[in-house]
């Protein structure tokens, strides 16, 4: 099939029906559970997953868990409540700040940030970013730390390894406590935990092992982000959720997924990736996407490197025999 601008268009109605059937069968036959617990963040992926589950199982067999912590945007909870009201499932709020503080999340993170910026204190917010010029050169990933204060002043430095690892290790406590909270609600009801990652996140490794990566089933892990948007339109989820820029919802300064992980806008990344998977020659992809051949090659190399680096995240526990 020829590679065109429309190669990632799906028949959203047909895909929805097939996904609902799969969700029912997997929950019943493979998992022996009778309902679904979904972490609802007000983002597009968890929204589509919750809407699909409500349709597949009936809203009375679905519960959406909102899990804010002190760095979360208050908008996330508002959007999640709106979603739950529209699709008729119960929404429960579990603030995980107390659990995070108890494990030293904020302290450990701030200690690492202060090793880079000694002036950092809770009046500043912080984020980590990667190079976003990945179509221009074949660069390794490295990380910048940016801190911002309330008057809009910001400072940026490349992170030494030890600081980077400690900030990431501390932030990953958030995803793992969210998984933990979802399983509490699932085990209490004998229901299943839904993982809400899409293909971009799953296959490029943008998830935390046993954090948001830990779930019983992942209904949209095979769909490109721009396909998830098509399902969202078909399912008529709230417009503000569709229009919201995807963020990590992990750092105190707002950071887009493009800045933090993918380094490329979703349309270009998904199309390049599809082209790579289907062995579309770089020349053809360049023509369809309005890029140079060189840019396509850098994009291919970057995606390939990320996909190859994810083995660790997806490995089941290794046994010695």
């Amino acid at each position: 099939m020829e590679f065109t601008k429309d190669s990632l268009k799906i028949d959203a109605a047909a895909v929805t029906e097939q996904l609902c059937q799969t969700i029912r069968t997997q929950i019943r036959t493979r998992l022996h559970k009778t309902g679904a617990v979904v972490g609802v963040s007000g983002g597009i992926d968890s929204t589509v997953c919750a809407a699909l589950c409500a349709r597949a199982l009936g809203p009375e067999r679905v519960v959406g868990i909102m899990m804010p912590e002190k760095d979360s945007s208050p908008l996330s909870e508002q959007l999640a409540r709106k979603l739950a009201a529209q699709f008729g499932f119960q929404a429960i709020k579990e603030d995980i700040s107390g659990g995070l503080a108890g494990l030293g999340c904020y302290e450990r993170r701030d200690e690492a940030i202060r090793s880079v910026f000694p002036e950092f204190d809770p009046s500043w917010s912080a984020k980590i970013t990667i190079p976003t010029n990945i179509l221009e050169k074949d660069t390794f990933n490295f990380f910048h730390l940016t801190i911002e204060n309330k008057s809009g002043e910001s400072r940026t430095k490349r992170m030494p390894l030890a600081a980077y690892l400690q900030v990431v290790a501390s932030s990953n406590l958030k995803q793992r406590l969210r998984m933990t909270t979802l399983y509490y609600h699932a085990e209490k009801r004998n229901w299943a935990v839904i993982g809400t990652g899409n293909k971009d996140e799953h296959e490029q490794g943008f998830f935390v092992k046993y954090g948001d990566g830990g779930a019983d089933l992942k209904p949209i892990a095979h769909l490109f982000k721009i396909q998830v948007y098509q399902l969202a339109e078909y399912l008529k989820v709230p417009r503000e959720i569709i229009d919201r820029t995807p963020t990590t919802d992990t750092y105190s300064a707002e950071v887009t997924q493009e800045e933090f992980f993918f380094g490329l806008d979703f349309y270009k990344m998904d199309m390049l990736w599809y082209a790579l998977e289907h062995k579309v020659p770089a020349e053809k992809a360049a023509e369809v996407l309005g890029l140079t051949v060189e840019q396509v090659r850098h994009g291919y190399a970057n995606i390939e490197r990320k996909v190859n680096a994810t083995e660790y995240l997806k490995l089941p526990p290794l046994h010695a025999v």
Binding site: R28, H32, T34, L57
Partner: protein, 91 residues
């Protein structure tokens, strides 16, 4: 209290379908089929089932009665419930 066997059989089948098959009545199983061996109910499911017996029929299996022979098929359940109910009635 006694219950008509046909009614009981139908009620139990409906409960199994609603609770463990999420309403999917396309799944075929015979009255003699083991729930466990056919993947319809797992070990936690057995506890959901006994909670239902208690609530709906006021039938509580004793520790010694928590056996596949009493609980692991529609037939076993029907026999067990009727036995327990007539024992209660006879008191």
């Amino acid at each position: 209290m006694t219950i008509d066997q046909t009614v009981l059989r139908k009620e139990l089948r409906q409960f199994i379908t609603d609770s463990f098959l999420i309403g999917d009545d396309q799944v075929v199983f015979a009255d003699t089929d083991s729930f466990m061996k056919n993947g319809i109910i797992d070990s936690t499911g057995v506890l959901e089932l006994t909670a239902h017996l208690e609530e709906k029929y006021s039938v509580t299996p004793s520790d010694d009665e928590m056996l596949p022979a009493n609980l692991d098929s529609i037939d076993n359940l029907v026999n067990f419930i009727q036995r327990k109910l007539s024992a209660t009635a006879a008191q």
